[in-house]
Each structure stands twice: as structure tokens, then as C-alpha cells.
Amino acid sequence: MRRSMTALAAVSVLVLAGCATDEPTASPSGTASAAAGSGTGEQSKFFVQADYDNELALLDAAPTGPADKPWEQVLNPKMVDTAKYRKPGKHKICFSNAALNNPWRQVGFKTMQAEVEAQRSRISEFVHVDAEGKDQKQIADINDLLGKKCDALIVSPNTTATLTPAVEAACQAGLPVVVFDRGVNTTCPVTFINPVGGYGFGHVGAEFVSQKMKPGGKVLALRILPGVDVLETRWSAAKIALDKAKVNVVGVEFTDGDPAKTKKIVNDYIQRYGTIDGVWMDAGAVAVAAVEAFQDAGKPVPPMNGEDQLDFLKLWKDKKLTAIAPTYPTYQWRTPIIAALSILDGTQVSNPWKLPQPTITQDNLDQYLDASMPPLHYAMCGCTDLPGYPQRWK
């Protein structure tokens, strides 16, 4: 009995570990570069040269629309006709959400809810369904929403390819569909809303880091996990910039977005190489952990990029870091509501609806810092004029 119990227990432990540690097994670029101590490996299969060129151009494009409301602005607008969706009266707007599983999405969703409240005179009902990060649930959610007499459907897809048929089915049901944040492989939605994108994000951070450090210095690149398009595009743009600057990329490591793991990785690299001259990250959630690793090791914090999360901005200011924060603004969660209402008015909207993607630098840092907001809040929420600010976001 004991023998079989032990064996069963061992199996369950292994299964548990398999689902719990979730460590990327396919990290050829990470391994190779770590061993060789230089280079960034092969370009990602997600890389598309035309998209890269387009996004880098968009970074410098002048937006149309009100300057103080970037969530209403558009880069290179391409207007589409929406007259056939015109509908009088108050509207029922439905939203199928991929997940609420990180602070970025939490802040974004609160912003969206506040936008709904601000537009209460025009919205009779707002239905939100959380897919909890599961494709299958989101497909079922969208299917359910089709039977609920929504006037417009907003979708933030969990994954691109798997959700495409569900979005197409919603389009065929005749209601206007607005997709935002992550995309789908179909042109059927009335509009697709997102900021400049991953190439722009990755490029801005990598350019800064490689320019602020000594030539040929050692860069550590920290990524969350492989295989996610928005993160892959960030890395592939950074790769180009880092290679061009001829810096020595000593490591490309996956952190799983975990601060403890991040600190250990950075600490290990500091020990292995003595100094690290620059840190590039594909997302800012663990930027503070990376900074702390240098602080705890008694080393100066090298030039690095984070994101617009307030804990990082505060640390940047307090410790006078050499830093930059490309953003993926949470204000984009306001835009789908505005777009849906415009479509139901029959007013033209741009498709794609490309939003500006501002960068926080030393010069404008102070304007985004707000000590009264919680550390995990995102500065670029565009939410200060919305009902319930600041309490709703605390």
C-alpha cells in the first residue's frame, strides 16, 4: 500500500510542478546567448518587417483629435462608414473581456467602467463578461452575448487565432463589433483599437538603454514568456536596436513576470559578470524587482526601461535612475466605449483606430507621478476627469 501511495504521490507532485512552475522549455535564444555571452539570437518568427516599419513611423506621426484627450486621438486615420449601424435611443453595450488577471487590466477595466458611467445618458445597460484568461470560456461568452440583444459588442480577445471565428460569428450576427488591445485575424470588426504597438514599445526602450550606456557594454534582456505576439514584437524590435548599437547582450532570460524570479536572475547576472551596464525589459511589471536586485547587491542601477506603473516611476524619481518608460496606455480602455457610441450614432470612425503611445522620460516624469495613487496603478490611465476618480482606482 505504501509503495503505491508513494508512487501516486510522486506522480501528483510532478503533475503539480508541471502546471505550477510553467518554465519555458523552448528558450534557444536565451541559452545560446547566455553561454556565448553575446548576441541576441535569431529573429522571432512573429517579426513582420512591414509592421515594424509602420509602427516606427507611427511613433513620430502627428495625431488628429483633441490634444488633451489622447484616447480620442487617431494616428493616420482611415475612416469607415457606419451609417448602417445607426440606432436611436439608449444602448445596451456588451463587453467580452479576456481577463482581469493583472494590474494593467484591472486599471484598464476600471477606466472603462468609469467611461460607461460618464456616458450614462446614452447607455442603458453595460454587460461585462470575464473570460478569466481562457479561450474556450471567451468563445462561449461571445456566443452567449449574441443572444442577449446587445446593440454593440466590444471584445478584448484572449488569443488572436483562437478567438477569430467567434468574432467573425458576432459580426455575422449583424451587430457592430469593436475589438481592442489584442487583435484578431479578420477584417470584419467595424474597428480595431490599439496604440502604436509592441515594436514601438521595444524599440523606444532598447534605443534608450543602448545610447545611455558605454559602447559595447553588457546588457541583460528580461522577457516575461515566449510566444505571445505583443511581447514577441517588443523583443524583436529591441533585438534590432541592440544589435545595431553593437552592445553585448549577455543574457535573454524569461522571468514569468515574477518579482522573486526576476531578482534572482538579475542577482545571478551581477555575480557572474560583476557589472551589468544596461537592462531592457519587455514589460515593466517587474522593473522594481530588477532595480532592487542592483540596490541589494550594492551596485549602481544601470540605464533601464520600465513602464508607467507608479511604483517604478516613484523609484525612478526617488533614486534618480537613468530610465525611460515606453507605455501601453491603459487609457485605450476608454476608446471602445466612445467608438461603440459613435458607430451607433452612424458617425464615421477610423479603422484601424491607432492611438498615440506616449513615452515617459526624465523631462515629463513629474507630470505622471502621483503619490496619492496605489503603487500598482498605471499613470497613463487618462482617468483623472472620469467619475469616481481617484477613489475608484484605489
Binding site: R2, R3, M5, T6, A7, L8, A9, A10, S12, V13, L14, L16, A17, G18, A20, T21, D22, E23, P24, T25, S27, G30, T31, A34, A35, A99, L100, N101, N102, P103, R105, Q106, E132, E253, F254, D256, G257, D258, P259, A260, K261, T262, K263, K264, I265, N267, D268, Q271, R272, G274, V288, A289, E292, D296, A297, D311, P374, P375, L376
Partner: protein, 325 residues
């Protein structure tokens, strides 16, 4: 309490099963010294011990459960839950630090109590009980926090896991985490040398005989689970301090702790091994990972290494238990 009288010589307790792990640790340290001499500099070594403290504590907690013939797979999720709860309750307010620390310790013991009672009174196999607890905690935290941590940990709270007494002669620095570890380790060693510790081993060795000898098996095992829960609470305080608020603070730790325990010569299925061996197992595992890093081996291989260790340990313990029959 006849079982308690089966007291081996003190000298034997000290060496029982520890020699191989000490040898392995020494070999690894020599290899590390070869690859990365800086690693053995006092201040660097102290930092390493400090950040290894949580997993060593968890291994100590896991020892109590494993040596009496059970498992605790809930510790990783318990650590996550505690870090998330601490962040939300403290909400960056230093004055709430100590009440929350007390609350975390009580919470850890309570989760252990539930695990223990379900396992002993309801007779649910412990890896089912604690797997269930794992899922309950993951779900509860998700529900409570909407899937993303809120609030923040105070500097006061983070001190335990992050800060150190600096400028110490010879050693360079002594992390607070290391001090906490030393205290907990001392308590653990005293416990295992007490009647309770021997009873625990007897229960793991043969629960039926122990019961017939008058040992309260239910109480003994339940206390073992509570100790594991307490160890997880202390680990959560150190880990939260080390890395800050995270929804992944404890991911995979149960596996690391079990690997460390079996590496330290504790038999899966119970009845053999020492808590010092378990803690040295954790330290050895961390040293092995450090060595893998210094030699540029991919971090992804860590899972594989842990898997191999577990499989070998189970194979060895199965062979032993079948040959002894």
C-alpha cells in the same frame, strides 16, 4: 509511550542520512568556487543564504509532514495567499506590519490544522487533502483579489526579507532572513530531538505499531501539518519581503521543498531522515541552481533536475521498503 523509548544514540541522530548530503554540498561548493570564486566571498555567501532562507524553511516544515508519512502540497499556494493578503491588509501602512505578521502566522497554523484534521479524522490521503487545499487557496485568492494583487507591503514588513545588518566584521553582512532562519532551524532541531520528534518518526515508520504503542497519531500528524503551515507563513514573510507583492510568490515552492527534503535523505513515505538533512537538502538544491547559472545552463533545466531527483528518491525508497519486507 514505549515508542519514545526507542531512542537511538544522539551521535547516530546527527549522522543518520546527513553524510551524503553534506558530501554533495561540499562537492558543489568546490565546483562553484572553481567556476565563480566571488560567490564564496563572505558578503555574497551571506546574501545567498539570506535569499535561500524561505526554501530552507519550507523544507524544514515539509520534513515534519513527510517524516510522519504524509505530504503537504499546499505550501506554495499558501505562500502566495499570504503575500497577497499581507499586501492588501498592510496597504503600505507601516503601523499595520506587526498585527499582520501575527495574523499570517495564525493563518498558516490554521491552514495546517485544517489539512491535518481532514487527513487524520476524515482519512483523506494527504496529497489529495493538500492538493485540494492548494486549489482552494488559489481560487480564494483569485476571488478575493480579482486576479491581481492590490495594496502594498510596508518597508517595515519588507525588512525581514530584504535588509541585512551591514558592515559586520569578517562576514560583511548578515541578512535578517538568515537570523530568522537560524532561530527557526534551532526550534526545529529541538523539536525533532524532543519526544514529539521521535513520536513523529515512529508514526511515519509504522502508524499501526505507533498507535498500538499508545501514540496519538491524529494529534501528532495534525501538529506536523500545523508546523508546515507555520513554516510557510514565515517563508511568505521573508519571500514577500525579498521580492515585493506578487501573484506568483509561491508558485512551485511545494515542489522545491519536497525535492529538497528527499535530497536531504528523508524517506518519502516517512520513518527516516532528519530535519537538518532536509534543510541541507534545500541549501544543496539552491547551490546546484547557482552552479547551473554560473555555468550558463538554461534555467528551464531546473524543473528537469527537480523531477530527476524526485524520481530517483521515490525509486530508492520503494526499493528499500520492498526489500525490507
Amino acid at each position: 509511550m514505549r515508542v519514545a523509548e526507542r531512542r537511538p544514540l544522539p551521535l547516530r541522530i546527527r549522522t543518520d542520512g546527513i553524510a551524503p548530503i553534506v558530501a554533495l554540498l561540499v562537492v558543489l561548493l568546490i565546483l562553484v568556487a572553481f567556476v565563480q570564486p566571488d560567490f564564496l566571498a563572505p558578503s555574497s555567501l551571506m546574501s545567498f543564504l539570506g535569499r535561500s532562507a524561505p526554501i530552507i524553511l519550507l523544507a524544514a516544515g515539509q520534513y515534519f509532514v513527510i517524516v510522519c508519512g504524509e505530504f503537504d502540497l499546499s505550501v506554495g499556494s499558501l505562500v502566495t495567499a499570504q503575500v497577497v493578503v499581507a499586501a492588501r491588509l498592510i496597504d503600505s501602512d507601516p503601523s499595520r506590519t506587526w498585527p499582520v505578521v501575527v495574523l499570517l502566522l495564525a493563518g498558516g497554523a490554521l491552514v495546517g490544522l485544517v489539512n491535518g484534521l481532514v487527513t487524520t479524522v476524515l482519512r483523506v490521503p494527504s496529497f489529495i487533502t493538500t492538493l485540494g487545499m492548494f486549489l482552494i487557496l488559489v481560487g480564494a485568492v483569485y476571488l478575493w483579489s480579482d486576479g491581481a494583487p492590490k495594496g502594498g507591503l510596508s518597508e517595515e514588513f519588507r525588512r525581514f526579507g530584504r535588509r541585512a545588518i551591514e558592515d559586520v566584521p569578517l562576514l560583511g553582512r548578515i541578512p535578517y532572513a538568515l537570523l530568522v532562519l537560524v532561530v527557526v532551524a534551532a526550534v526545529a532541531v529541538v523539536l525533532t530531538r524532543s519526544d514529539f520528534g521521535r513520536t513523529l518518526v515512529a508514526v511515519g515508520d509504522n502508524p499501526r505499531t505507533a498507535e498500538l504503542s499508545g501514540v496519538r497519531v491524529v494529534r501528532t500528524k495534525t501538529i506536523a501539518f500545523m508546523l508546515s503551515g507555520l513554516a510557510a507563513a514565515v517563508a511568505a514573510i521573508l519571500l514577500g519581503g525579498y521580492s515585493g507583492v506578487s501573484f506568483q510568490a509561491g508558485v512551485g515552492l511545494e515542489f522545491g521543498a519536497i525535492t529538497a527534503v528527499v535530497l536531504g535523505g528523508v524517506a518519502l513515505g516517512g520513518g527516516r531522515g532528519s530535519v537538518v538533512g532536509a534543510m541541507l537538502g534545500a541549501l544543496t538544491l539552491e547551490t546546484l541552481f547557482a552552479l547551473m547559472n554560473f555555468t550558463g545552463v538554461s534555467g528551464a533545466l531546473r524543473s528537469t533536475v527537480q523531477g530527476v531527483i524526485i524520481l530517483l528518491a521515490v525509486a530508492v525508497s520503494s526499493l528499500r521498503s520492498s526489500s525490507s519486507r
